[in-house]
Amino acid sequence: MTIRRPIFRAAPDPGEAWARQVLTPLRRLRADCDVAAAVMARIAATAAGASEARPLSPRQARLAWAAGFLAGSVALGLVTSALRGAAGQGQAVHEVLGLLTSLGRVAVLLGRFLVSAYGRCLEIAAPVARAVWALFEVLTPILRGAGMAASACGVLSILISFYIFTHARAAASAPGGGRRS
């Protein structure tokens, strides 16, 4: 059998003076560098990168959407005015405006429908969710009790089986194969 010895046995402390003497060459080492500019540039770059990459908050996103919608409407108005000027008469503009009005009506109807559908869903789902939660709260201790009872029954059945099996083996090994004469 091989006994693994530690690589180094406990040696006595050679003392602080010894350590100082041995490490003298390291104490004489000096390094001089100028990293101030590089560090500040890195900090500035990180700060700029952070503001660019920062995700928009929901409020900012809504504002951006509204601003985009407004800009789109203004652009449409400008195009319409240009078309009107080009055509010299209001026929094309009337058609575009009629189309936009119809689209607007459809959008409003769709929005109303969605809002009412959402409200109805919430109306139906909320009491159901509440009832499920109440049921869950009531059932939890019962289920826990049932689980414990089931496990106790399991243990009991194992014990009974063990007893019966042991008893049957004892009877079978008796003279006459355990049969009564």
């Binding site: 180094f8 046995r9 010894w18 003497q21 490490l23 390291l26 080492l29 560090v39």
Partner: protein, 194 residues
Amino acid sequence: MASEPTDVELIREVLAGRVERFEILVRRYQRLVATAALRMGVARQEVEDVANEVFFKVYRNLGRYEPRHALSTWLYRITVNAALDRRRSRRHDERSEEIPADLKDGRPSPLEAAGERQRSRLLHEALGRVPEHYRAPLMLAHVEGLPVEEVARILDLPEGTIKSRLFRARALLKEIIRRHYPALAPTGARMEDA
């Protein structure tokens, strides 16, 4: 005449949004950080990278600075960790490239002819064999010349632990030098071992 702002004042200004004031702190401590990194075994050509990393880390965590301790204590802590990380990542390269073949098997080497730089390099190799948790207190106490209580603060350990680690580190280093780098032993000690 206005006096130089203290570290704490500068840190408060930086935290208040005057980021440019951090440059004064960097200029004030860059030599300390670079020298500590070099002494901890970082290659000279990598010292600037490590110093950059240390100061950037300090800037990012400036809000966590505790003014009851000197800024240098915190800088030492970050520098020690950065140097150990750097050494750890370079360990394989150092072993396979920098150590001359005649040192790998412990045979005597032509150290007598080597200069101070060679001696430092060998010392770093010898120290590389000392486990990190012994090496850091040894370097801070006997190379940086810091008192035990300061070393304890830097490494966030009780003073008693630092003392026992120093004891063990010195014993280990002596044994390593005796076995593998006999030329590094002080002259008197070499005679004793022989």
